[in-house]
């Protein structure tokens, strides 16, 4: 799944470690989400959306169906 996490994080000038601390996850998890190697669970996606004050679909974009 595509996402805008890296852009949103950069806008706030947060490091991956800082964002990880705010979400109570590891830095590796943030990196895996940003590089789109891992899709977060729904509760974590909601937590991310709440932190950035956006709706989930504004952050996470579904892959286009083939």
């Amino acid at each position: 799944m595509k996402n805008r996490l890296k852009v949103l994080r950069a806008e706030r000038d947060w490091s991956q470690a800082e964002l990880a601390d705010r979400l109570n996850v590891s830095r590796q998890t943030i990196n895996a989400i940003e590089t789109e190697k891992y899709d977060p669970s729904l509760p974590l996606a909601f937590q991310i959306a709440e932190l950035f004050e956006k709706r989930i679909e504004e952050i996470f974009l579904p892959e286009k169906r083939k």
């Binding site: 109570n24 996850v25 590796q28 998890t29 895996a32 190697k37 891992y38 669970s41």
Partner: protein
């Protein structure tokens, strides 16, 4: 309860319980190789490593609860690699033993458990690479 969980999941508790378990195993093994003890006492010595192992297990479980969702997934995938590989090793040893008797000191089933953590750490390294 939270304090106990934090204490158990601390890095030091993990290291101490692992070292205690390994030491208890080798000490018990050293004692059991000595035939001078009574059978009852030998049985007690054989079961003593269960105590540090229980501490090790509680520390692992507490540690798992502290992990985030991706870390848990990585550990699960590592187990999913280690468990079948260990079964494969057991199965192969069983089949080979039908052809030729294996020397028990080198190839006995009692050595197989040592491969489980080896396969687990291999699985962990392999799985982490996928998410980096």
């Amino acid at each position: 309860m939270n304090t106990i969980l934090k204490l158990l999941s601390s890095k030091w508790m993990g290291i101490i319980s692992t070292v205690a378990w390994i030491l208890a195993y080798f000490i018990a093994r050293g004692i059991l190789e000595n035939d001078q003890l009574s059978e009852g006492l030998r049985l007690v010595v054989a079961l003593v490593p269960i105590i540090p192992f229980a501490l090790f297990l509680m520390s692992v479980l507490a540690g798992i609860r502290e992990l985030d969702e991706l870390q848990r997934r990585v550990h699960l995938e590592a187990l999913a690699i280690a468990f079948p590989l260990t079964m494969l090793l057991l199965m192969s040893l069983g089949l080979v033993e039908l052809i030729t008797p294996l020397p028990p000191d080198d190839w006995s089933y009692r050595h197989v458990w040592q491969f489980l953590p080896v396969f687990y750490f291999l699985g962990l390294a392999f799985t982490w690479r996928r998410y980096q």
